[in-house]
């Protein structure tokens, strides 16, 4: 039985329920179809590769990915994902001595399909992909860009709480017109973030048992939504006491768009044998303002309202250098 979902301008047909996504009721949507199926995937990687990563191999337009004790994935040609669950071994039990259950493992497989395999599919299809969350301001959007734990989702959740739509979280996939495509209809937020936003964790479902992370549902955007970007905020943390911002100007903007902290897996993309994205990146660089933001590492030190107001004002002014 196949479940159907839409995200990033794609129709995902999966034999695994891709929780916590809501399945698409309208099967007539005219979008490219991606097949996601269970099957055999090598446990040693691809042949003839010299990957610098432990659990990721690339050959031609194929990506092999292993998440230990979860699953192995083969992502091929921008239209097919094969997954094979790993056999759970006892050493990966949690601190109470319980092994990761099959139920949890299936949720983790679904999550890694969404967070890794689908973005790799987008790379294989030639899309520009950034590590960012996009929030709608009027007819445009702002992208909060940075590596894991930089605060992308925190800003998205905080702005959503203030009435702004979240277009995409964790990854931003751009079409050829440099518009951000609508992503998944949920955020994954840590307990700390809910507390900081004065939201009650008991009002949210845990991502799965044994993790202190919750599903934060979003009002679904139209599957075909694509919004132009007005600003990209680069998120940095440091051992500082005050949050501050600094505009990036000139060609420096391009370097930030290409860096591993902001581009999605540029090292993997470079091995996919795809055309360079320099033209699209340059157009994006010219069309948007890019602003470096640096916040204190400790969430307790963050004055969120001051930062949110800055983003709202900045987007309202639509300043472009």
């Amino acid at each position: 039985m196949s479940n159907c979902y839409t995200a990033f301008g794609l129709c995902l047909h999966s034999d695994l329920e891709l929780v916590p996504l809501q399945a698409c009721q309208d099967a007539a949507i005219n979008l490219p179809v991606i097949r996601i199926e269970q099957g055999e995937v090598s446990n040693t990687g691809l042949k003839n590769t010299q990957s610098s990563l432990v659990y990721c191999d690339v050959v031609a337009n194929t990506v092999w990915l292993r998440i230990p004790n979860v699953a192995r994935f083969l992502i091929e040609n921008g239209d097919h994902v094969t997954y094979e669950a790993e056999r759970i071994i006892a050493s990966f039990d949690d601190e109470d001595g319980r092994m990761v259950s099959n139920e949890v493992q299936l949720v983790q497989i679904a999550l890694y399909i969404q967070s890794h395999c689908v973005p790799y599919i987008c790379l294989q299809r030639g899309h520009l992909v950034l590590r960012g969350s996009a929030v709608r301001f009027g007819e445009q959007c702002a992208v909060f860009c940075g590596p894991a734990s930089s605060g992308k989702t925190t800003y998205a959740a905080a702005l959503y709480n203030r009435g702004f739509d979240v277009i995409s979280d964790e990854v931003c996939v751009f079409n050829e017109h440099n518009e951000v495509l609508a992503g998944y209809t949920y955020l994954k937020v840590w307990h700390d973030v809910l507390s900081y936003l004065r939201l009650e964790p008991t009002d949210f479902s845990p991502l799965f048992p044994g993790i202190n992370k919750y599903v934060f549902p979003l009002e679904a955007a139209q599957a075909t939504t694509a919004l132009p970007v007005s600003a990209i905020y680069l998120l940095y943390q440091d051992y500082i006491k005050e949050w501050h911002t600094k505009p990036v100007r000139g060609l420096g903007k391009l370097n930030y768009l290409k860096s591993p902290s902001h581009a999605y897996r540029p090292g993997v993309r470079s091995k996919l044998g795809l055309p360079d994205l320099i033209v699209q990146q340059t157009r994006l660089m010219q069309a948007v303002s890019i602003i470096k933001t640096k916040r204190p590492k400790s969430i307790r030190a963050i004055r969120m309202s001051q930062q949110l107001q800055f983003f709202i004002d900045d987007m309202g002014l639509g300043v472009d250098d």
Binding site: I67, P68, Q108, H116, A148, W190, L207, G210, K213
Partner: protein
């Protein structure tokens, strides 16, 4: 009583070609940053850490001190971001246990990335840890040697309480517990890092000084303070470095505690996140006599007396020795 210190050491590992990683291990607040600073001041090259500090080296031969925030030696590998660099995937959808076990693999991968013929360094606050399936957090196949620093727990509890914003009593309770998960519980953030296996203070010392196959040099913080040149020369010899006593003395002068404390008054130290009062507090030996109550001293000795005796901190009757006064 005169206490004769016996240096505990095994020869550095030359058995395995791929053994290119040196661990600088210690319980928190025991002098690890000082040792790393010293090696930086000696201009010891760390090929992997060096990549992260391209702006400028920490130690200019012409300077009389080094920048505390540019110690280009001894990466710590437990943050999600660092683990993901090696693993190749985001870890935020793993359980804490899965993430922690992933460190076994990323530690090995980190060590294997050190070029042949070179030596890399890693700062470690974990205990020497072996998992149920036999996997080691640090494997003898790639570890060239360990410099393990130990410090009198009577002083460590004060320093740790200050660093973590624990009360001293809470700090003592923390050190005494036989926990297997992070002592840095209060500063620990699942959002940004994996847990570390710290254990109790005694458990930590025991794990690094017995029953493991790694070559190691045991260094007491008190000897680093009181017999600096001799003690740091032992480190130099153990690591097969080339440095004269004069060079060691110059390096020690560059990393004098007072210089770092002064720097920290002007800008925060990168590792002092949770402590508004700073990382470099006093750095002295025997501060416990002024700060700890009799009950607190008794509790620490009750919890750790056996190990403290083995290290010369208390005599066979549990009385503090001259070493730590």
């Amino acid at each position: 009583m005169t206490w004769a210190w016996v240096l505990m050491t095994k020869e550095i590992n030359t058995q395995y070609d791929q053994a290119r990683l040196v661990l600088l291990a210690s319980y928190p607040k025991s002098g690890n940053t000082w040792l790393r600073s010293f090696l930086s001041a000696l201009n010891v090259y760390d090929p992997l850490a060096e990549q992260q500090f391209t702006e400028q080296a920490a130690s200019d031969p012409l300077d009389d001190e080094i920048d505390m925030n540019k110690i280009h030696l001894g990466t710590q590998l437990f943050s999600r971001e660092e683990i993901e660099v090696h693993a190749g995937f985001d870890t935020t959808d793993l359980t804490e246990a899965q993430l922690a076990h992933l460190r076994v693999v990323t530690n090995r991968h980190y060590a294997q990335a050190i070029p042949m013929g070179q030596v890399g360094y890693m700062k470690v606050h974990d205990a020497y840890t072996v998992f149920d399936n036999g996997a080691c957090l640090f494997d003898k196949q790639y570890v060239k040697g360990v410099v393990y620093i130990v410090r009198n727990p009577l002083d460590v509890v004060i320093s740790y309480a200050n660093q973590s914003s624990f009360s001293i009593d809470a700090s003592i309770a923390h050190f005494g517990s036989d926990q297997t998960l992070g002592v840095d519980e209060k500063a620990y953030s699942a959002e940004s890092s994996a847990r570390r296996w710290i254990s109790s203070w005694s458990g930590h010392v025991q794990s690094w000084t017995s029953g493991h196959p790694l070559p190691y040099l045991l260094v007491r913080y008190e000897d680093m303070k009181k017999r600096g040149i001799d003690t740091f020369m032992q480190v130099v010899h153990f690591l097969n470095l080339t440095a004269s006593e004069e060079e060691v003395a110059k390096a020690l002068d560059k990393v004098a505690f007072e210089k770092f404390a002064k720097q920290e008054k002007e800008k925060p130290f990168v590792e002092s996140e949770s402590n508004p009062d700073g990382f470099f507090r006093k750095g002295i030996v025997g501060d416990w006599r002024e700060v700890l109550s009799s009950a607190q001293i008794s509790q620490v000795i009750s919890d750790h007396g056996e190990m403290m005796h083995q290290l010369g901190y208390v005599d066979e009757y549990g009385k503090p020795t001259q070493l730590i006064c």
